[in-house]
Symmetry: C2
């Protein structure tokens, strides 16, 4: 339930954090980044400090540091320096983080590059070459479609959350 006062049920938060993190792990994400990310997603402000993360997840500052570095590299969180403090805050941009999922362009592009090289070295007219060419065409098609899809999403979002 929605609570005010001393706040939210820490047990409920923890259940969500661990459950969602587990799903992310299953999809290939490392455990600690997944937990840190889920904790940020479940925070009311959308930001937490390193100390809060370490405290809530019961891990060392070192682990938080490593996880946050990874998440920042993936553009899933950003770092903000709090004015008037030496603390750093880590933020999840609710309307942007999941766009990084579709920005796995880098991955599609690397797959495409590896396939292109395979086609070239095995020969485009060999059976294997043709099979790989079809796969490559698929990746290129998807790559083009995703931008349009995200544009439609933003319109759709603006209707849902005006």
């Amino acid at each position: 339930m929605t609570e005010s006062g001393p706040g939210r049920d820490p047990a409920a938060v923890s259940r969500f954090v661990e459950g969602f993190a587990a799903q992310l792990v299953e999809a290939g994400m490392q455990r600690m980044p997944a937990r840190v990310f889920a904790a940020l997603l479940a925070s009311d402000a959308g930001t937490l400090t390193a100390a809060e993360l370490g405290d809530q997840l019961k891990v060392s500052p070192a682990a938080v540091s490593g996880a946050v570095r990874y998440l920042a590299q993936q553009h899933m969180v950003s770092r903000e320096r709090e004015p008037g403090s030496r603390r750093e805050r880590y933020r999840v941009h609710s309307d942007q983080w999941y766009e990084t999922l579709t920005n796995r362009e880098s991955i599609l592009k690397r797959w495409a590059a590896a396939l292109g090289e395979g086609i070239r070295s095995l020969g485009p007219e060999t059976p294997a070459g043709r099979r790989m060419a079809e796969t490559l065409a698929f990746f290129e098609f998807i790559d083009g479609e995703i931008a349009a899809m995200m544009e439609r999403w933003r319109e759709h979002r603006d209707e849902l959350f005006p």
Copy 2:
């Protein structure tokens, strides 16, 4: 007997297999399934036997067995019994395997389920709940779009490879 056609350079095949597998690994796939899959993708017939896979990849039958089981579960390859032999052949369907990439529905659905539970337990009107609701809406939107996108792909493919 499966003949590697004339002019097919085993070293070139191996380079592709290891390179493409490395990209798959980077995207979260286990190493052995990735190598087995890449080997199938690069095979001329689109099929290989367990013995051929073990031989080409220099791994034990046990490793092949585990990798193939995983790939079959993910519907990335299918198993065929060779008539008149006790061998099994493993096949990649060139025009279908990559559709499994978009069929990670299961993953989207599980993420959505975890988010839905989080929204319910933290409260849909809390800031965290609203953030999660937007993410959930995104996943639901994507889920709907993907089917349409794949339909467009099939049309596109039929133009490219009539």
